[in-house]
């Protein structure tokens, strides 16, 4: 099923060339005037004189071999251009995912198990931050932590691993913040619900220690919805990361994608879109696999409820 998604997505990415006003060629050149040798080269590379399906096939085959075409703007192989940037994006997404998992799930579990101030403060905090779009969060974070407090740099990638991490911290927080709030809320609700279930009563009635009950019944069962929501939010990071990269002037795939879209450099846009969509689908596949592993009532191949 997800493979079909991938195929359709790649089809849309490729086919968008033809939706543009004008010919496919003009979409590829982005309206630039090119010498005839260049346009001829483009025609050959994309097999523009062949039927649409054949073109799509060539493009896809090339892409899967790592050849995503040539950037009109930079006159270089798209894959080469993307190479270094991918690390920044991957690092950012992973960093943000880590924050979401540790802080989001952690807060949610705490709030779910202990009513009282931990619970109310989590609820209030998440209510505010859940709706905070990443770019707004980015601005606030920069204003407060970078400019006022000078704890973190505002822009750029930095050099060396530790400096990189320092530079990626505020962006990662900006990226993670609203997802974190959603994960915390869902986690809290799931933990609460599981704690109230009858099978927990059974375990209590048999004298099983509270710690074990929390671990083996409440958290173990709540892990199912928690994994689902965490997976969904992490997948959504892939799309939003373009915004955060731009806001912090990071040189990652997302920022490059935006620049290429502004420059009408279609080959780059297609290439990066394809990679991002693949990443999105892969995350979803992992979530589905985890879900099936956690819930024995689901067998692989059935859609999760």
């Amino acid at each position: 099923m997800l493979l079909a998604s991938l195929l359709v997505a790649s089809f849309v990415i490729f086919g968008s060339m033809y939706l543009a006003p004008g010919s496919a060629l003009s979409a590829l050149t982005g309206g630039r005037a090119l010498p005839p040798t260049s346009t001829a080269a483009l025609e050959r590379q994309y097999h523009l004189n062949q039927p649409f399906i054949a073109q799509y096939w060539y493009w896809l085959a090339n892409a899967l071999h790592g050849n995503l075409g040539t950037s009109i703007e930079w006159r270089e192989n798209v894959t080469t251009l993307m190479g270094g940037l991918a690390w920044t994006t991957a690092g950012l997404v992973l960093y943000a995912s880590l924050i979401i998992c540790v802080v989001g799930i952690g807060l949610g579990v705490l709030a779910g198990l202990r009513p009282g101030w931990a619970d109310t403060s989590t609820l209030v905090g998440t209510a505010v931050t859940a709706a905070l779009p990443s770019f707004a969060a980015a601005m606030v974070l920069v204003a407060v932590f970078a400019v006022q407090l000078h704890w973190f740099p505002a822009l750029g990638n930095g050099a060396g691993f530790v400096d990189n991490v320092r530079h990626l911290t505020l962006p990662a927080i900006a990226l993670a913040i609203s997802s974190l709030a959603i994960v915390a809320r869902v986690t809290r609700a799931a933990v609460r619900e599981e704690a109230g279930r009858e099978h927990v009563q059974t375990a209590v009635s048999r004298g099983i220690p509270y710690r074990d009950i929390v671990r083996r019944h409440i958290l173990r069962n709540a892990a199912i919805p928690i994994t689902t929501i965490t997976g969904i939010t992490i997948a959504s990071l892939i799309a939003v990361d373009a915004v955060v990269e731009t806001a912090f002037s990071l040189n990652g795939l997302g920022a490059f994608l935006v620049k290429a879209a502004q420059d009408k450099d279609l080959a780059v846009v297609q290439g990066i879109s394809l990679v991002l969509v693949i990443a999105f689908v892969v995350v979803n596949v992992i979530v589905d696999l985890l879900y099936a592993a956690l819930d024995p009532r689901i067998s692989l191949g059935t859609a999760p409820a």
């Binding site: 359709v8 709706a131 770019f135 204003a143 846009v269």
Partner: protein, 287 residues
């Protein structure tokens, strides 16, 4: 048993819960905020006290002074006026997204629910496949192909939202479809499309409105992000997303007000839509 003809011009409604009751104080506040924003969107350019487009670099980032409550932006224009004028493009885009995705979504959901069987299976499978495309990505792709602007981005976003809308509404439509009154109408001889249009859809109205409200919030965030990236509304046109990005340099230089003010507008209105939408949703799913 005597024959009873039901005059089916008016929809057979199931009793709806009280109109305003049940959305709580938070819901009312949110509704008020939304009303204010809508008003600004409608009248913004007319009621903006100062010029919104003519730059004056001598006034760059001057703080609040005189009648300029929020000071000046990066190009020396009055921030408050730009915000008021910008409300229009900031809210019209999401409106278009919601309307388009609802129309398509309702059509798909109801058709799928009505026909059931193979049609339903195919449509559902198709929608599941389309789920893989994140909205912003599709919007970026669209602007690369069609050029930057609100139209391309809005349409792309609308298409990306359709799978979600259709899935939610399909569930509700299926439930309606299996209600006894539908069978009664069928026996009366009313055609499928007529039953759907005049009875099933109106009975889903509260759910549709709730979903629309929530989606408006998402669309606003996504479109503001697109404009922030420079791929939506183009500077120097007033728009909250654009304002956030063009005034971002102010943060570094110690003038955070214009950027944060624009950001606050987006965030407050989005939160209002989210809160109201969630209240409406819990009310709709109760009855």
């Amino acid at each position: 048993m005597t024959a009873v003809t039901i005059r089916s011009f008016a929809a057979i409604r199931r009793p709806a819960a009280g109109r305003l009751a049940g959305i709580g104080a938070a819901g009312i506040i949110s509704a008020v905020i939304i009303a204010v924003a809508a008003l600004a969107a409608a009248l913004g350019p007319l009621i903006a006290p100062y010029n919104t487009t003519v730059p004056d670099t001598t006034l760059q980032f001057v703080g609040p002074v005189g009648g300029h409550l929020l000071g000046f932006d990066v190009e020396g224009r009055d921030v408050l006026s730009r915000l008021l004028a910008g409300a229009q493009s900031s809210m019209v885009g999401p409106l278009a997204v919601v309307v388009i995705s609802l129309l398509l979504g309702i059509a798909l959901a109801v058709t799928s629910a009505w026909k059931r069987g193979a049609v339903d299976a195919t449509v559902s499978a198709g929608l599941d496949i389309l789920f893989a495309f994140p909205g912003i990505l599709l919007a970026v792709l669209a602007t690369a192909v069609f050029g930057p602007g609100l139209t391309a981005a809005s349409v792309a976003l609308a298409i990306a939202y359709v799978p979600y809308v259709a899935r939610v509404l399909r569930g509700a439509a299926l439930k309606e479809r299996s209600q006894p009154y539908v069978a009664a109408l069928e026996v009366q001889g009313l055609s499928g499309p007529a039953i759907c249009a005049r009875h099933i859809v109106p009975n889903m109205a509260s759910l549709i409105v709730a979903q629309a409200t929530i989606m408006f919030g998402w669309a606003m965030v996504d479109l503001a992000a697109i404009s922030f990236l420079g791929l939506g509304v183009q500077a120097p046109a007033p728009n909250w997303g654009v304002m956030i990005s063009e005034n971002a340099v102010g943060l570094q230089e110690g003038y955070p007000l214009p950027t944060l003010a624009a950001g606050a507008c987006v965030v407050i209105v989005v939160i209002a839509f989210n809160v109201l939408g969630e209240r409406l949703l819990s009310r709709a799913t109760q009855s």
